[in-house]
Symmetry: C2
Subunit: 109 residues, 2 copies
DNA sequence: GCGTTCCTATCGATAGACGATGGGAAGGAT
DNA sequence: ATCCTTCCCATCGTCTATCGATAGGAACGC
């Protein structure tokens, strides 16, 4: 089973960013949600996710604060920043551009 | 400018395989063709392409033989094998599966 | 002869994802 | 009380693939 970004690295940030549009979430929740929405096709492993979140923090695309989860566990909630939204739009566009180009090749090459 | 597989590694083999469906081509030609068909969005660098071709050779997905190019240069022509066609079908399917899942996330997440 | 296009190929550095691993707290079951 | 499962965070080392730089040679037009 290919895990999400094993086939398409570089899309992890995009996916994480997009997932946060609905509101703040903790890492574990992000992983669950992606798995659910993609109907088990995309698996965001924790060892891929946390480094990605660190990256996004460093780049200022998300901010984080500690709190309590729905299940009353200690959890770190990540929130999209304004810069994060811009980055999301940009990455999304780029993604479609590339995928479109690949589809063109798959059709006509 | 993001180059093709810089955003989407793992797709290089797929692209190369697909390009060879039309018939045998040499490496340089493959690079040109992809660039052309993708309207300059996908750049298959030579330092990415030749290793990829070596991989495909080793895996038996293509075979190669030396010959003369259209311009009368010494060139190595790569041809898709039966296994290569199967691999292409498989990779294509997988690609669509993943892209579909990502699109689902981009819509609903 | 000289530059340009064509064509092949390798090397070292880099980046990103993954599996394995470790830890800890909450809550229910026995 | 203790155990087990689920939840939640995080890092480390490995691995794989791409990339930029680099190298070289043959054909052709000028």
């Amino acid at each position: 089973m290919k895990t999400a970004a094993e086939l398409l690295p570089g899309t992890l940030d995009l996916i994480v960013l997009r997932t946060l549009v609905r509101g703040p979430m903790h890492g574990y929740g992000i992983a669950q949600r992606v798995k659910e929405i993609s109907k088990d096709v995309l698996h965001v492993g924790e060892s891929s996710l946390y480094p990605a979140l660190q990256r996004l923090l460093l780049d200022g695309y998300v901010k984080a604060e500690w709190g309590a989860s729905e299940n009353n566990r200690r959890a770190r909630f990540y929130t999209l920043t304004a810069a994060g939204r811009r980055q999301l739009a940009s990455e999304r566009e780029e993604f479609e551009r590339i995928v479109g180009a690949i589809h063109a090749v798959l059709r006509f090459a």
